[in-house]
Assembly symmetry: C2
Homo-oligomer: 352 residues x 2
């Protein structure tokens, strides 16, 4: 605490990211990274871009990447905003569309950064309680509000909402912006992007960190009607005009272009997820249905905290949240088949 901090900084409870051990000795199933490398085309293009041009500022409008996304998703260029990871895009969205006098709504068990943004910006919010199956009770989001954020699939549960249901939610909230956080949608879910042309109040946020294997690059994006995108650009250009570096811009274009690599790696993860769920259930775990690159599982006999610690002792990092209702669960990222075989082997040892 310092006398130079303002009141806001004193009261903040910042987000705590998952452990990022530097020594690599762990099987890392704790931060939902993709176990497969990025496309070879990304690597090649970026290697070529490491050159003397780094002395020059990047394109602040990110136009090459926007052109690529516009073509890929069949959107207009002014319907696309690029940010430094989906976290920055989310933060800017909170800054642009939510107001102190109107309560925003998001699920109580969800991405824990939402509450941090709300606190940073002095926003009033209501967390809607997930039902007994850990499903998002969408009817509860149809009350008067100043904005809605739904992650689909949800994190850390992995549970998915069918887009026809979300469409009704967007329709029921014409006076506020509905943000669908699709960080994990590419692992078996369906995106809301197809409805962007129909709804002025829908903002879809995605990232290259998960399904494109580029967590190390820091690129996320928002898709929505042009007025929403202009609002995001106004915030960005009031904080930092150049948030994406030259190399990230070049790699991002290639990541979207290599559809084959994308399809292949996401399919592998979906297939490994299926096998992992079966194996975990065989060990006495309850595993929530997942459409993401992680599963959320609890064991009937051993607590989540102890399992987390014992797995760490055994060289496997998973994520445990010390939070009511979910403190008995582990969030386990889907790695390669080999990594998941080690996880299961270690769990068998621990449970023996």
């Amino acid at each position: 605490m310092s006398k130079y901090w303002n009141d806001k900084v004193r009261e903040l409870e910042p987000y705590v990211p998952g452990e990022q051990p530097k020594d690599k000795k762990y099987i890392k199933l704790n931060t939902n990274e993709n176990p497969y490398p990025p496309s070879k085309k990304v690597i090649e293009a970026m290697k070529n871009a490491v050159n003397d041009d780094l002395k020059l500022y990047p394109d602040p409008t990110c136009s090459d990447f926007i052109d690529e996304l516009a073509s890929y998703y069949n959107l207009d260029k002014d319907q696309i905003f690029i940010g430094n990871g989906s976290d920055e895009v989310l933060a800017f969205s909170f800054m642009a569309f939510f107001s102190k006098d109107r309560k925003i709504l998001f699920p109580d068990i969800s991405y824990s950064f939402y509450i941090v943004y709300a606190q940073l910006l002095n926003l009033d919010y209501k967390m809607i309680k997930l039902d007994e199956n850990f499903d998002v009770p969408l009817e509860e989001f149809k009350r008067p509000n100043g904005g809605v954020i739904i992650p689909n699939p949800n994190a850390p549960t992995g549970k998915y909402i069918y887009i026809e249901e979300l469409k009704k939610l967007v329709e029921a909230n014409k006076d506020s912006v509905v943000i669908i956080d699709e960080a994990y949608v590419d692992f078996g879910g369906e995106s809301m992007i197809k409805f962007i042309k129909d709804y002025d109040n829908l903002l879809v946020i995605q990232t290259l960190s998960k399904s494109r294997s580029l967590a190390g690059l820091r690129v996320g994006f928002a898709l929505g009607n042009k007025d929403l995108i202009e609002g995001l650009n106004r915030i960005k250009n009031s904080i930092n005009s150049y948030t994406i570096d030259r190399l990230a811009l070049i790699g991002s274009v290639e990541a979207i272009r290599d559809e084959e690599h994308f399809q292949e790696t996401t399919k592998k993860i979906i297939s490994t997820r299926k096998k992992t769920i079966k194996d975990l259930e065989g060990l006495g775990f309850t595993v929530l249905e997942s459409k993401s690159n992680f599963v959320f599982a609890s064991h009937k006999e051993i607590s989540g905290k102890i399992l987390y610690e014992k797995l760490k002792d055994n060289g496997v990092l998973v994520r445990h949240f010390n939070k009511e209702r979910i403190n008995n669960f582990l969030r386990i990222t889907i790695g390669t088949d080999e990594e998941m075989a080690v996880l299961i082997k270690k769990l068998k040892l621990i449970l023996r």
Copy 2:
């Protein structure tokens, strides 16, 4: 304008960065980029780092780069904060240390992002008028305030304040944070970093974009007492935990290590600046004394706006600010000797 924008977004007047033409046909003297390439060691290390590890998140604590800076500047690790360019570091500083109820002070002719941050955060501010020689009247900053920002050298004037004078300013403002924005200090100025251990309220902000030839990488940093740094980390971790990508972190370390390249390129720029000032004066320009990698010049006969346009027609981009008191000036980045020779040749043609 959209009904979904909040009041803040409606009233914002975002920063407008200098033109970044994509076709490269211009001699680009408009955004204070370094004309020399980054260190070969930076390029080599980054090329090697373009690999499959991009699937993993970067180190959110930026510890390798912090270690390097701590050793270079003889500071403790907890006295260093890393951000996505010095713009982001400045924005986070405004968010952490300034309050609505206490007026912040900065020069009226200065980096135009300061006023944008103040507006974004609803901060009350007073712009202190530069004197008739475009010097910062430091005595005016010794009144009660909620924070002070002084760029040294100033932009867009290039004028420098001796650090003994700034030291008195820091001493006179023990109740508020004094930010010295040293984006351009390496081109002949002296840094305030040596005083960090003496003053709890001093925050020095620097960047790799100018003197380290890495504008394309987006890395800036703040140096100050550990409580100030913790305040910045609290803001960062309430917005985006991973603002610096894996490659930028690796390149930054090498940029600080290659002292020889740094000394060589900054010396060349200082030498070219001296020659450019003489040449411009020979053409009838008034040029302010500069300790930065740009000069600020006005001509007695032709307006700044017309000179800017004619230079652009002739393939040379410089920066013109349509603002009272300085609208007759051009801000001209110091390029290579060859680029400046072209500038002078084109100016001779235009002035003929």
